[in-house]
Symmetry: C2
Subunit: 268 residues, 2 copies
């Protein structure tokens, strides 16, 4: 619920409690899980933002310690400037903050982009990569997280439906499956349900295994999706008797295109 | 039909005639369309191989000239060594030969890998990229073809079913959709149907538009799939009002992982 900070913290806490009670070791929440997404402007975002040591992360740390779970979730971070941030919390402590590097649409009017790559973090629930929503539309991001050893990529998401949804799977689900399959990693993507200020969400929450099989989702509506993920499977990049999706790369042949186009663009 | 060179040339010619009669400007055939795929060994492959100026390409050039179509197809090339090759034929002339750079499974026992990147070729049917089967499992390949200006990526394929097929879409179809969507290009993938020496094919022939929408396929069985593709759409990389899938890339942040793992591997 856009702007209902206390209510959203309580809803997230309840979902975390429910997932932990069902046996979850790792819990992934949406992007901007506490503030909502569709800010009218920077002022509104600023009023709904908080520092990393504010009540949201403090609350998640308390839950992580008490329930023995790793939590990955998004929040609207204020640190002088505004950032679309995600945190990884493990053993009651903040393990990592990441500021989204690929800004979607009006996020460009509100947030400063992150200047550090999506992180890979060693946690008690495994070696996790983090990408936020539009980050995951860049296959370079998912490949790089996997090459750096991520066994599972957590993707907090608030993905608006743009035009006709793809059939039989939303684009966001297709991309999660593709990233899992080509990198032999788990992908755990937590999207939004419902509608916010006229934006319908793609509801593309999925849990995908390293073969690309959907272990859970996508399903319409608010819910907790869960699945057993044996993360050691993601350390094996072999495919059949003679292939290995990492070793078979030919980086000597890639990148000819990279020099051909501008790599920055001013939209604002 | 493995080894039936004359029969396969006639079948391919018939399919080309049929597609041209239906109005096709560009026709994509499978990988190793004339020899078959599941060679017992290098000797058998050598007996079914031919030089680039052999009867297959000569026949396709004749068809291209007579019907006014661009043809992309795969063949077993003998040039001293064996190559899993694909050709682009335009206006009755060979426009490009490509030797597959990512070898799947027993191809490693039979073919020498190509040492030049998948090509982008200006043709009378548009600016085409070419990748062969397992090449397309490397998002770097598809990205690089798109960055180099490919409006449509043609993917001759012979993709064996490995384990349980993904649901609701085969992995090969998922990857084609993902590549089209993230690169805003058309993908035209021509896979095999049926079974060859115990190998069941994924039947993942698809035509995908730059939004990732399936214009045709996948469907079981032997067939000609066709769709109208307005290639100029693939020149527009913008997404909504403020995004551009190429300009939004952050190459300054990618590639940290590339140095961490070996890039070559000897399986043989």
């Amino acid at each position: 619920v856009l702007g209902d900070l206390a209510g959203n913290r309580a809803r997230a806490a309840k979902a975390i409690e429910r997932a932990a009670a069902a046996g979850a070791d790792l819990i992934v929440l949406p992007e901007l899980a506490i503030s909502g997404y569709a800010f009218a402007d920077r002022d509104e975002a600023r009023r709904l933002a908080e520092p990393i040591d504010g009540p949201t992360v403090t609350g998640w740390c308390e839950l992580s310690a008490r329930l023995g779970v790793v939590i990955v979730g998004g929040l609207c971070e204020l640190d002088g400037t505004l950032h679309n941030a995600a945190v990884v919390i493990d053993g009651g402590e903040l393990a990592c903050t990441y500021r989204k590097t690929h800004r979607w649409d009006r996020e460009q009017l509100i947030f400063e982009p992150g200047e550090r790559p999506p992180p890979v973090v060693e946690t008690s629930a495994g070696r996790l990569g983090v990408a936020v929503c539009y980050d995951a539309f860049f296959p370079e991001v998912m490949r790089d997280l996997a090459l750096r050893g991520a066994e599972l990529i957590a993707v907090p998401m608030n993905s608006p439906v743009i035009g006709e949804p793809l059939r039989p799977l939303a684009a966001e689900a297709v991309l999660a499956i593709a990233a899992a399959h080509v990198n032999r990693v788990f992908v755990v993507q937590c999207d939004r349900a419902g509608v916010e200020r006229g934006i319908a969400w793609a509801q593309a929450s999925v849990i995908v295994d390293p073969a690309g099989s959907l272990l859970a989702g996508p399903q319409a509506g608010e819910q907790v999706l869960s699945a057993a993920c044996e993360l050691t499977l993601a350390r094996d990049k072999s495919l059949g008797d003679r292939n290995d999706v990492f070793a078979d790369r030919r980086p000597d042949l890639y990148g000819a295109g990279a020099a051909l186009i501008p790599t920055t663009k001013e939209h604002l």
